[in-house]
Subunit: 146 residues, 2 copies
DNA sequence: CATATTTTGTTTCACCTGAAACGATCTTGT
DNA sequence: ACAAGATCGTTTCAGGTGAAACAAAATATG
């Protein structure tokens, strides 16, 4: 018998969607950034420059979505889009000065929200949760799911 | 510094999306059921009859999405849509015989997939994960998200 | 009672999404 | 060097999405 309360795919989806929406409220209106745009920024905040494909790999977004988010961010002067010297198919995406400044304002907001969200968990519980997420991702890989 | 690897909103979203897609592969082609339709079935599988609003509450889908999924399932003869005798605004949704038969074939598929997916976790880890999801959902409620 | 307000589910509309087609570039094999 | 094929990112297009407007029905208020 399928018990939805304990059916993990269902529970994960509901939780993830609520978290995404709640977090988006922190930056959408204030900075005019969509969820896909925020994801691009978050990934570039860690590592730069990256190609669109790199972002696709790291974000699990499809390449059309990444392309649109990148285009919007470039048009707003937040990202610089250069081409790779050795391979002109590849973009080399990085923050402009303005983009870096924006990221430096948005990222703390996101981290603050996360801290508040996780306030009820101990450090051990947080680590355990991340560890479980890691293992489940790995399991998906083993199962041949992308 | 925002470390995306340990940023839970990001990790949850990537995981949930992959899980949803992988699971959807189990039933989409074989039974012609979309993800929202499957969710409606899963909820009705546990409790019947329900109104559309009940399904909205239990699924975190918006009411337009539920309305469309229900309409499609009714048109396919999978759900019966009766009106409540005391309140004619309310639908009383339940499986037809065909719908019950379909559910009885799809649900085991979903459970099998989940079992395979969770094969690497001990029973304790699974319980811990569900417990954490519960608490995070509750936390979102406290934060006024929904 | 009469009317205002609320609740339920559908529909509209502008936007988002992703699979597939595409042009451009690079790589492989001969 | 050349053709065939792969890879990268953009664009197209058919369909999905959700906020808001809506109609129908119930409830609350004076």
């Amino acid at each position: 018998m399928l018990q939805l309360d304990s059916f993990l795919p269902y529970r994960l989806n509901v939780l993830a969607k609520r978290v995404s929406k709640a977090l988006a409220r922190q930056y959408e209106d204030r900075f005019g950034i969509s969820i896909p745009e925020w994801r691009v920024l978050a990934i570039l905040g860690r590592e730069q420059p990256l190609s669109s494909n790199d972002i696709v790999d790291r974000s699990q977004m499809d390449k059309a979505k990444v392309s649109r988010a990148v285009t919007a961010l470039v048009e707003r002067g937040i990202l610089a889009r250069a081409t790779h010297p050795q391979d002109q198919r590849l973009l080399r995406l990085s923050f402009t000065a303005e983009g870096r400044a924006l990221y430096d304002r948005v990222a703390p907001l996101a981290l603050d929200w996360e801290r508040d969200f996780l306030a009820g968990l101990t450090a051990e519980e947080r680590a355990a949760l991340l560890g479980l997420v890691d293992r489940l991702e790995k399991r998906l890989g083993e199962m041949g799911e992308g």
